[in-house]
């Protein structure tokens, strides 16, 4: 627990490094967020509540959260499978697959946005194929889910991968020697050991999806009440010079981000409870 006051501080440089850190954090991170919270708070409870619970705002929450939930669930399955394949198997092209998992992380969101739109719109490669099955992706909530899937994929893979790599092979060997089948060992030994990392990855992925903007607005269609995400609603209010609404709804996004951050930290702390490695 690192809260002892200046106990082991024998190394030089604390004032300078801490000074830079605090100054930077205060100026770049805390000040703007404080300004936003202040602005939102200055509305007064009644007005604030009226804005954040307006029908259009509520609709945007529904659209955003629903799409994020579905996208996160899909990424959960796919991310786990991807992490498993990357850790347990070797095949030609393994290195390429391992590298491109990071593409959504490295690719600018606007670029991803127009690319996904080109792929899934009515005359795109995937869009036309899906249209034949009667499924429309672009300009529908499904499009939002696809964009969220794309941008949040690396989070689950990269949180599960190291944990899977670190699992003691002796645990599997012990389970095998005790007579467990592959499925039983996966369900009772491996999956429980991966669950904390999975949950952490899920919460990161969900948080990212809730706040995503650039990748979504090209493919989404952005129809209010239908395919309008909360982040876009904030943007539109700004364009209308309705700064109060923008502040209020942005504060909702901010509070949600704080909650997700706390959740991730809590889940990680729980995970370390019984799997501390010495």
């Amino acid at each position: 627990m690192g809260t002892t006051l200046l106990r082991r501080n024998v190394l030089p440089g604390l004032p300078l490094s801490l000074g830079i850190t605090l100054f930077y954090v205060a100026l770049i991170v805390v000040l703007p967020l404080a300004a936003l919270i202040f602005k939102a708070a200055s509305l007064g409870p009644a007005e604030y509540w009226a804005i954040v619970s307006s029908p259009r705002a509520l609709a945007s929450y529904r659209v955003t959260v629903l799409a994020a939930l579905v996208a996160t669930l899909i990424n959960l399955v796919f991310g786990l499978a991807l992490a498993w394949v990357l850790v347990r198997y070797r095949f030609p092209g393994w290195r390429i697959v391992d590298a491109i998992v990071d593409l959504p992380f490295a690719l600018p969101t606007a670029v991803a946005g127009i690319a996904l739109t080109a792929l899934f719109s009515g005359n795109g490669w995937f869009g036309s194929a899906l249209a034949m099955a009667g499924i429309k992706v672009a300009y529908t909530p499904i499009g939002i889910m696809v964009a969220m899937c794309f941008t949040s994929l690396p989070f689950i893979v990269r949180t599960v991968q190291p944990v899977l790599e670190d699992i003691d092979p002796a645990l599997e060997e012990a389970a095998q020697s005790l007579g467990g089948s592959d499925l039983a060992i996966f369900r009772k030994v491996l999956l429980p050991l991966l669950t904390p990392a999975l949950l952490a990855g899920v919460s990161l992925s969900f948080a990212r999806s809730l706040g995503e903007f650039g990748a979504i607005i090209f493919i989404a269609g952005n129809k209010p009440y239908d395919t309008e995400i909360t982040a876009l609603l904030v943007f539109i209010r700004l364009e209308e010079y309705d700064y109060q609404s923008a502040a209020a709804i942005a504060s909702v996004l901010l509070i949600t981000a704080f909650v997700m951050l706390a959740l991730t930290n809590f889940l990680q702390a729980r995970a370390l409870r019984y799997t501390v490695r010495g």
């Binding site: 645990l171 060997e173 019984y274």
Partner: protein
């Protein structure tokens, strides 16, 4: 369950870890595989378990050729050096694991009763709801043993089971493992590099070096009648002196030692520190004391012989002896082996 290894071979890339080992273990026997790191002892154990495949030879459980049977079907109980307890399960759940996943369905009440029995057997009653992280290393190892015993294994395999524990805990667990073995009568093989442990515990000791068996026998046999300098040095402190054998007698300077089974030529004479005596004069190997170490019960003297070789021997605690003293070392008992 009798276990038989028939010319078993294992090679890792270019490293020949096990070179044609043949071994028979009687039903109910407690056998130690003893040897330095890299001697192949753990590899052999893991091949018996089915955690490694043999590259050659065969392994028999009773009359059945088990060489290609997967580990989950062999009916072995394996205890790992670092316990390998499932960290997310309680002690009780760990022990019950084998019963819960087994093909033969047991009723939950049955399983719970057996877990309680095993906890009693390993003297951990009341700890069933703790997590591995909350108990000590010695306790964890006992849980690992209980877990392995829970599936009624035909053979119990232990891989350096006490290696990660303090010396005192090791000694206590050793005695207790012997008790359990005597009570249950399961064929048991355990691997160790600690000769004291092997000699203390086992019915029979199998000494391995560089992938092959160099000697096997009861603890009495291997300590009284070692077959090579390696065995002698591995089993305890031993002095080594160069000698020449002529007509069944080994000559170290003027000292003569009987060496009836030795061929003529260069040889090595091995003695235990307790088999040497020190005198200030007379016949024997001339030497000078370099250091005196005080230990509980004896004084261990380090000396340099005339030939430049080092000697260690024990004298009574009251004996007056100090670095720099010159004197003579006489040999009461020794083993002579031709120089390899």
């Amino acid at each position: 369950m009798k276990i038989r290894l028939d010319t078993v071979i294992k090679t890792f890339d270019t490293f020949r870890a096990v070179r044609g080992v043949s071994l028979e273990i009687g039903s109910g026997e407690l056998v130690a595989l003893l040897g330095p790191s890299g001697s192949g002892k753990t590899t052999i154990l893991r091949m018996v378990a089915g955690l490694e495949y043999a590259d050659g030879g065969a392994i028999y459980f009773g009359e059945t050729d088990a060489t290609h049977i997967p580990v989950r079907d062999r009916g072995v109980g394996f205890v790992f050096q670092h316990y390998a307890l499932f960290p997310h399960m309680t002690v009780g759940e760990n022990i019950a694991f084998g019963m819960k996943v087994s093909k033969t369905k047991r009723k939950p009440a049955e399983i719970a009763a057996r877990v309680a029995d095993l906890l009693r057997l390993v003297r951990l009653e009341g700890l069933g709801d703790r997590f591995p992280m909350q108990i000590s290393g010695g306790q964890r190892q006992r849980v690992a043993l209980a877990r392995a015993l829970a599936v009624d294994p035909k053979v119990l395999l232990l891989d350096e089971p006490f290696g990660a524990l303090d010396a005192n805990v090791r000694r206590d667990l050793r005695r207790w493992l012997r008790e359990i073995h005597d009570e249950l009568g399961i064929t048991t093989i355990f691997v160790t590099h600690d000769q004291e442990e092997a000699l203390d515990l086992a019915d029979r000791v199998v000494i391995l070096n560089e992938g092959a068996i160099v000697q096997q026998g009861t603890p009495a046999e291997v300590t009284r009648a070692p077959k090579s300098g390696f065995v002698m040095r591995f089993l305890g402190d031993a002095n080594r002196l160069s000698a020449t054998v002529r007509d069944g007698v080994a000559y170290v300077g003027q000292t003569e030692i009987s060496a009836l089974d030795c061929i003529d030529g260069p040889a090595e004479v091995f003695t235990r520190p307790g088999d040497l005596d020190w005198a200030s004069g007379g016949a024997g190997i001339k030497a000078m004391v370099s250091r005196v170490l005080d230990r509980p019960g004896e004084r261990r003297v380090l000396a340099l012989a005339e030939s430049g070789e080092e000697l260690e021997f024990d004298v009574e605690p009251e004996r007056q002896i100090a670095a720099g003293d010159r004197g003579v070392v006489t040999i009461r008992r020794a083993q002579v082996f031709a120089k390899s």
